[in-house]
Amino acid sequence: MGTFFVLGRASFRKNMVYFWAHMANNVGSALFGFIYIALWRAASHGHDVGSFSSQALVAYIAVTQTVLWATTFLPRDLGISTAVRTGQIAIDFGRPVGYLPRTIAAAMGDVAYNILFRSVPLVLAFLVARVYPWRNFLSPATDATFVVALALGAMTGILLQYLIGMSAFWTFDTRWARRLYFALTMFAGGQLLPIQLMPLALRQTLTWLPFQNLVSFPVSVALHHAYVASWISALVWVLMLTGVAIALTHKAMRRVEIQGG
C-alpha cells in the first residue's frame, strides 16, 4: 500500500510545478461555467425546464464544472500511448509492482491534485457568484453519497483513459479514441445538457452507459436528481471496466514480447 501512496504523491507533486499555470487555466474554466450558466439562465427565464427549476439548472452547470476536474480532465490516456511509442512501456511492465495498480495510483495523485487546486477554487468562485448550491452540501447524507459517487466517477474516468491508452498497443495512435471519448463525455455524460432532460429512450440508454458516471451521476447525486438505476449502472461499470483493464493488460504484456525491443 505504501508504494501506491508514494506513487500517488509523486504525481501530485509533479503537478505542483505548474501550479500558477493551472490557476490561470482555472480562470478559463470558471469563465466556461459562467457562460453556460448565463445561457441556461437566459433560456429558462426563471421557469422550470422539465424536472429542473431554473436555479437547479444553474447549480447543475456549476457543479458539473467542478466535477469534471475530478473525473474527466486527467493526463491524456494516462501517458500510456507515449510510453508505448517510445518503448518505455517494456521497462514499466518489468517493474515489481503491477502496471495497472501502479498507473491507477499515479492517476489518483492527479485526481487529488485536481480536486484540491482545480475543483476547490472553482467552488469558491461559484460561491462568490452565488451559483453554487452550498445548501445541498449541509446534509451529511448528501456529502457521503456525493463522495462515493465522485469516487466512482473518478475511477471510471481513470479506467476509461487507461483503456484508451492500452488501445495504443494495437492502433499506435490514440487520437481518435481520445476525441470520441471527449465527445461522448460531453453528450452522453450530460455535460452540456442534463440526461434527465433528454427524450425518454435516450435517457434510459445513457443511464446504462459508463459516461454518465463522469458527469451526470455525481452531479445528480449532489442535486438529489439521481436515479437508482444510475447507482447500479455506476457500480457495475466500475467493476466491468476493472475486469476489462486487467484482461487487456495481460494481453498487452504478451504483445510487447511479440514486438520485442
Binding site: 505548474y18 499555470a21 493551472h22 490561470a24 487555466n25 480562470v27 478559463g28 474554466s29 469563465l31 466556461f32 459562467f34 457562460i35 448565463a38 445561457l39 441556461w40 439562465r41 437566459a42 433560456a43 429558462s44 427565464h45 421557469h47 425546464v49 487520437r175 481518435w176 476525441r179 465527445a183 460531453m186 453528450f187 452540456l192 445538457l193
Partner: protein
C-alpha cells in the same frame, strides 16, 4: 513586399503537402469537427426551441449568430493555427530558425499556420449562416446587400480573431508557456461569442466589447443584419475595431519579437 508573398506562398504550399500526406487523418478530422459543431448547435437549438428563443432572439436568429461567429473564429483556426500552439516555438527554441528566414517572422509563422484540416469549420459556418438566413426569409429582401453585410461582418470578425490569436502568441515571449491561458483568451470568448452577448453579466460583456472585442465579430454585425436595433453604421464600426485589433496585435508582436531570447541549449 512581393518577396514576402512569394515566401508565404511557397511555405504555405509545403505545409499543405505535408498535411495531405496523412489523407485519412485529414478526412476524419474534417468529419469529426462537423459532427462536434453540429452537436453543439443542436443542443442550443433544442434549448432555444423549447423555450421559444433566448433573450429576445428567435431560434433561427441564434443559429445565424452562431454561424457568423464560427465563421469569424474559423478564420484564425484555418489561417493562424501555429500562433494558437505557439508554445512549441518558444519551448523548443524553434523560433530561432524562423528568424533566419528571408521574411518577417510574422509572415513565416503565418505561412506555416495554414491548417486545411480546420477548413470544415468555414464550410459549415457558411452552411449554417445560409440556412438560417433562408429560414429567416432574409434572402428575399435584398440578396446582394445581405451578402455584403455578412461578408463585412465576417471580415471584421476574422481580423479581430487573428489579432487576438497573434496577441495571445506574443504573450509567450514573456511567459514562454501559453497553453494554460488559451481557455481564458481563446476558447472561452470563442464559445461566448456564439450566443447573444446581452445574456452575460456586465463585467463579462465589458471584456468582450473592450479587451477581447469579439462582440464586433458576431453579435454586433448580426444585430445589424437581423435588424435588431442597430443601424448599418455599426458594420463600419466593427470593421474599424477589426482593423485596430489586428494592427495593435501586429505592433505588440513586433515588441515581443525584439524581446525574444532563445531557449536553445
Amino acid at each position: 513586399m512581393g518577396d514576402w508573398i512569394g515566401v508565404y506562398k511557397s511555405v504555405a504550399s509545403a505545409t499543405l503537402r505535408a498535411r495531405l500526406a496523412y489523407r485519412w487523418n485529414f478526412v476524419l478530422d474534417l468529419v469529426f469537427q462537423i459532427i462536434m459543431l453540429i452537436a453543439e448547435l443542436l443542443v442550443v437549438v433544442l434549448i432555444a426551441s423549447a423555450v421559444h428563443g433566448i433573450a429576445g432572439w428567435s431560434v433561427y436568429q441564434i443559429v445565424f449568430l452562431f454561424g457568423l461567429s464560427s465563421l469569424s473564429s474559423g478564420l484564425y483556426r484555418v489561417f493562424a493555427s501555429e500562433f494558437h500552439g505557439f508554445d512549441k516555438y518558444l519551448v523548443n527554441g524553434e523560433f530561432d530558425s524562423v528568424l533566419t528566414r528571408p521574411a518577417p517572422a510574422l509572415v513565416v509563422v503565418s505561412a506555416r499556420s495554414v491548417d486545411y484540416e480546420q477548413a470544415g469549420m468555414l464550410v459549415q459556418g457558411l452552411a449554417i449562416v445560409g440556412y438560417a438566413a433562408w429560414r429567416l426569409h432574409l434572402w428575399q429582401i435584398d440578396g446582394p446587400i445581405l451578402l455584403a453585410q455578412i461578408l463585412s461582418g465576417w471580415i471584421s470578425g476574422g481580423a479581430i480573431w487573428l489579432g487576438i490569436v497573434i496577441a495571445f502568441a506574443t504573450l509567450g515571449f514573456w511567459t514562454t508557456r501559453i497553453d494554460d491561458l488559451a481557455p481564458v483568451v481563446l476558447y472561452g470568448p470563442e464559445t461566448a461569442a456564439n450566443y447573444p452577448l446581452s445574456i452575460y453579466p456586465r463585467a463579462i460583456q465589458a471584456i468582450f466589447y473592450g479587451i477581447l472585442p469579439v462582440a464586433f465579430g458576431g453579435y454586433i454585425p448580426a444585430r445589424v443584419i437581423l435588424h435588431k436595433g442597430l443601424s448599418p453604421i455599426w458594420l463600419l464600426v466593427s470593421f474599424g475595431v477589426g482593423a485596430a485589433t489586428l494592427a495593435g496585435a501586429v505592433g505588440f508582436w513586433q515588441i515581443g519579437v525584439r524581446r525574444y531570447t532563445s531557449t536553445g541549449s
